[in-house]
């Protein structure tokens, strides 16, 4: 499969002159288009270190830019702008402003691990995508993505009870992401299910509060996990130079 790479020459950097005379020579017509000099001066030298400090980003330094990740990527096939190799390059070079151009799509990685399987250098690009998406949120460049919302709801239920209940995850997520629970496709799906088993449906979706799965004697595990998470949060806060006002578990701009 061909890799459709990004063009670094953007339309806004092309200068076209209708009439142009240089050194007394009229170069209007074919010779009138120029590329504006592009100089990057605002490197963020800490970019790679900060992303490497977040879960999943640890191995970014190993990347040798072969492009296997982008070539294998599921989301790249849907959207050629989704380009893990390129983002890893930008991060390693410290091109923060370039990275920010794609800030709204990086979270769309579907964690299929095609990149991780293809990568010859064990970079775990899937993890780098997660770390980068997380970094963008923590630095306030993007609002918390629906994906992070989902992770947070899910993880907090696991940390609290040891188990999850898919129905209440669904309702919790729709609420947190501000979506109405009643979506037309969801209704269609419910109708399909009601065909045979109305009771089971309600039961499974957690709207009947008959039964809430949980692991017994989970208290000590919960306390241990919460203590550990708090330590990690503190480490991330220091690594990213975040002040106390930043909520590490989801904030909405």
């Amino acid at each position: 499969m061909a890799i459709h790479e990004k063009h670094l020459i953007r339309p806004e950097n092309l200068a076209t002159h209708d009439n142009l005379v240089i050194d007394g020579v009229d170069v209007s017509g074919d010779w009138s288009t120029f590329i504006r000099t592009r100089a990057v001066s605002d490197y963020n030298e800490d970019l790679q270190v900060e992303i490497a400090a977040l879960p999943g980003g640890e191995y970014i330094h190993r990347c040798w830019q072969c492009g296997s990740c982008t070539n294998a990527c599921t989301v790249n096939e849907l959207n050629p702008d989704f380009n893990p190799r390129y983002w890893i390059y930008l991060i390693r070079m410290g091109y923060e402003s370039e990275l920010l151009r794609d800030k709204d799509i990086i979270w769309q990685c579907v964690s299929c691990n095609k990149c991780t399987s293809a990568c010859p250098r064990d970079v775990v690009p899937e993890g780098v995508m997660k770390a980068t998406a997380h970094w963008l949120e923590l630095k306030g460049h993007t609002a918390t993505s629906p994906s992070t919302d989902f992770d947070e709801i899910f993880a907090s239920q696991v940390f609290h009870k040891g188990k999850i209940e898919d129905g209440s995850i669904l309702t919790g997520f729709m609420k947190r992401s501000g979506q109405p629970l009643i979506q037309d496709w969801l209704i269609e799906m419910i109708k399909g299910m009601l065909r045979d088993l109305p009771i089971r449906f309600l039961f499974n979706m957690g709207w009947a509060t008959l039964f809430h799965p949980k692991t017994k004697n989970w208290g000590k595990a919960r306390a241990a996990i919460e203590e550990y998470v708090a330590e990690r949060d503190e480490a991330h806060r220091i690594a990213l130079k975040l002040d106390k006002s930043v909520d590490l578990h989801g904030h909405h701009n």
């Binding site: 579907v110 994906s147 696991v158 729709m174 799906m189 957690g206 017994k216 595990a221 998470v229």
Partner: protein, 309 residues
């Protein structure tokens, strides 16, 4: 030919099989019974961390999975734990890999296990297998053939494995080991078992494509597009049903099949069933017994027309 024996294993159903994946749970247990294999559910198990916890912290995911293995190995004395859910299977394998390769994973797991008050799991203390290995290794294709009562002949099946069963390769050291082993690029264990049950497997290119399960709710349009590709490819290959071996893939396909029609007007007729349901039918179990009626995708009419009740 069977090379391993998993007649009695620890059974780790995981959260999904107690919720939306109920028919997978039911059919796995029924097939086990019909084949004379014993499943002992892991006592007081917890969530493996699914696809989400690792995004908060991968070491917590390793700990969560290690607790399940610790109970199965130390409290119950098992040598193997079987997980039918690709997510659980993947996470237990990933934990095994990390615990044998990463000092930090070992340290965090030890610390959390000690504080939680149970024995720390160490790499190599139990083997994690998928429901596919369980049947393939213990019963084998010949064994299954010998037990088939209602052969699946005439049923055209696309075998769909998804992501977590094969990727990333490094966490599955037993795969890609030549003849007899599972392949990560072209998995075939499910194909083998269904062929032994008489099904006509179609040539299906998207066996390990991603269904977008991680973003089923958070980026539904992406998931719908990915699922549509899979459904279309299966239909173009001539499949009447897609056999699944993961509750997340299964409900993703079911849900986005409906959503694709509602939102994008792309209709598909292929039905989605768990491979254990198909094996159950082949073994002579009724559709009800293996939970066909509990699937969202309604395959009752199709299966009846093929002579299955």
């Amino acid at each position: 030919m069977t090379n391993k024996n998993y007649e009695t294993v620890a059974y780790y159903p995981g959260c999904a099989l107690e919720g939306s994946g109920q028919p997978y749970n039911r059919s796995t247990k029924e097939v086990g019974k019909a084949l004379g294999l014993k499943l002992e559910e892991v006592k007081n198990w917890n969530c493996c961390g699914a696809m989400e916890v690792k995004n908060i912290d991968p070491e917590i995911q390793t700990y969560l999975s290690s607790r399940v293995m610790s109970i199965a190995a130390h409290e119950m004395g098992h040598k193997a734990v079987m997980a039918p859910c690709n997510g659980c299977y993947h996470n237990l394998k990933k934990a095994e890999y990390d615990l044998s390769h990463k000092e930090n994973s070992r340290a965090v797991t030890k610390r959390l296990s000690e504080k939680a008050g149970h024995q720390t799991y160490e790499a190599g203390q139990i083997e994690t297998i998928h429901a596919l290995d369980w049947i393939k290794d213990t019963i084998g294709e010949d064994g299954l053939k010998a037990r088939v009562k209602n052969n699946l002949k005439g049923l055209k099946v696309a075998n769909y494995y998804g992501c977590m069963y094969t990727r990333p390769r490094n966490i599955f050291p037993e795969k890609d080991q030549g003849p007899g082993s599972e392949s990560t690029s072209n998995p075939h264990f499910m194909d083998d078992l269904l062929a032994a049950s008489g099904a006509d497997n179609v040539d299906f290119a998207l066996k390990t494509a991603c269904c977008g399960g991680a973003h089923t709710l958070s980026d539904s349009d992406t998931s719908t597009r990915l699922v549509s590709n899979i459904l279309q490819a299966a239909e173009e290959a001539g499949a009447e049903v897609i056999a699944t071996e993961c509750p997340t893939c299964h409900s993703g396909l079911e849900m986005h099949q409906i959503r694709a029609e509602k939102k994008f007007g792309t209709k598909s007729n292929v039905k989605i069933v768990y491979f254990t349901q198909l094996i159950g039918l082949a073994l002579g179990l009724s559709g009800r017994k293996v939970g066909i009626h509990e699937n969202i995708s309604n395959s009752t009419t199709l299966l009846r027309s093929k002579g299955f009740k």
